[in-house]
Amino acid sequence: MTAEKEGQSPFSENRDCPYFSGEMDPAVRAVEAVLFAAEAPLSPDEIAAYVGPEVDLKQTLRLLQEDYAGRGVELVERGGRWHFQTAADMAHVLRREREEPKRLSRAAVETLAIIAYQEPVSRAEIEAIRGVQISKGTLDVLMEAGWVRPAGRREGPGRPLLYATTAGFLTHFGLKSRRDLPGIDDLKAAGLLDPVEATLGDAELESVDESD
């Protein structure tokens, strides 16, 4: 898989294998080319229309199937029609993930904070504390990020679903446990509970529905 393998690939000792010496049966080559270029799976009759009736398709298709067995591509038969497809175990290679860094919305950060401090909490409780409704997407985002998980239901009227944080949450925020979160008194001392500052900026936001 790496440069060291140059000249000593798992196959290199077989490079002289006559299989690949260009002496391929022209019929096998023709069937291979036809199936490769076909825009839909082909029946043996349809293949014969290209390669001619004298080709023993049963034999040729079997040979081709053997050729490709174990490769990244395989020849398969479905309902009497033949086509090439990428090997099933290669599916994960054919998709590529692209990570896009995205910052959490303010609503999501607040929701996450409430869950972290007061878990397990229901959606209604989070809304009561924030004073605004949470859009469906907010909890989804936190779950997608892997920081919040559903944590059972509370016994009682409506049996509301509860939310709690995950181990991934602790890891991401560099916490050993939830007890490492600064308490209310710490927040007050740090000026983070300063009511004037907080209420001024939020007043307008609160009257508006959140839009994330």
């Binding site: 990570e99 927040l187 740090a190 983070l192 509970l193 009511p195 907080a198």
Partner: protein, 243 residues
């Protein structure tokens, strides 16, 4: 010199893509390598061709006539004795024409060779039903601990204003201060700093309130003529004594 095969070339003039194309066709009729081409013979063929076309009263596009005029000039210049003052020389012009014809011929051949290659969709084929590759976008959500804590602080602060309104700050009322300062002032004949009239208080907020009330009380007593105030300069200690 071959006789101009004008019969073979009396094709509708629209069949040629310009005078250069016609010249190239005539040149190839000489059946020699273009590098060996006799420009003089070519010029004569072209002029003969145009003359024939005129005789047949075919419509001849202007550019063919322009080329004919230019070639007639080139022919006479080539036939006349050399005049070293003419630049470029007729021989040079003839060479350039020859190179232009070679170049057009070369590109024409190159085009033909290109078209004859094994072309996709005609000779070779790509996979007919590719599964396709997919790019899946994944969000990498980011937030830091400070943001989280600050957000919690903000939420808590927002939900607390009720609590704050209920709480009463410790204050010293003006009446209280007035009584206290007036009572103490009766014994005080010397200038005394205003702080001395205030009760010993440790709560800094109550202290500030008492100082403010005490100051206003002293002003009120001075207004009533019961007290005198003195300050050496701005922001220096304030002194009070009975009037």
């Amino acid at each position: 010199m071959t006789t101009p095969e004008s019969d073979a070339l009396t094709i509708d003039i629209d069949g040629w893509e310009g005078p250069l194309d016609l010249l190239l066709a005539l040149a190839r009729a000489q059946k020699v390598d273009l590098r060996e081409l006799s420009i003089l013979a070519l010029v004569e063929q072209y002029l003969a061709f145009i003359a024939d076309a005129k005789a047949l009263k075919l419509e001849i596009a202007a550019d063919y006539l322009v080329m004919a005029a230019w070639l007639a000039y080139l022919k006479s210049a080539l036939l006349l004795p050399k005049d070293p003052t003419i630049d470029p020389s007729p021989e040079e012009l003839a060479l350039r024409l020859q190179i232009r014809l070679q170049r057009l011929q070369a590109m024409r051949e190159a085009g033909a060779r290109l078209m004859a290659r094994d072309r996709i969709g005609r000779d070779v084929f790509l996979r007919g039903q590719p599964e396709g590759l997919r790019v899946v976008r994944r969000n990498d959500w980011q937030a830091d601990l400070y943001e989280l804590i600050a957000a919690y602080g903000a939420v808590m602060a927002r939900t607390r204003p009720v609590v704050h309104q209920v709480m009463r700050r410790p204050v010293m009322s003006l009446d209280e201060a007035l009584q206290r300062v007036e009572a103490m002032l009766g014994h005080q004949v010397d200038w005394t700093r205003i702080e001395a009239f205030l009760p010993g208080i440790s709560d800094p907020q109550l202290r500030r309130s008492a100082l403010a009330s005490g100051f206003v009380a002293a002003l009120e007593l001075a207004k009533q003529g019961k007290a005198e105030l003195k300050q050496d300069e701005a922001f220096s200690p304030l002194f009070v004594r009975a009037a």
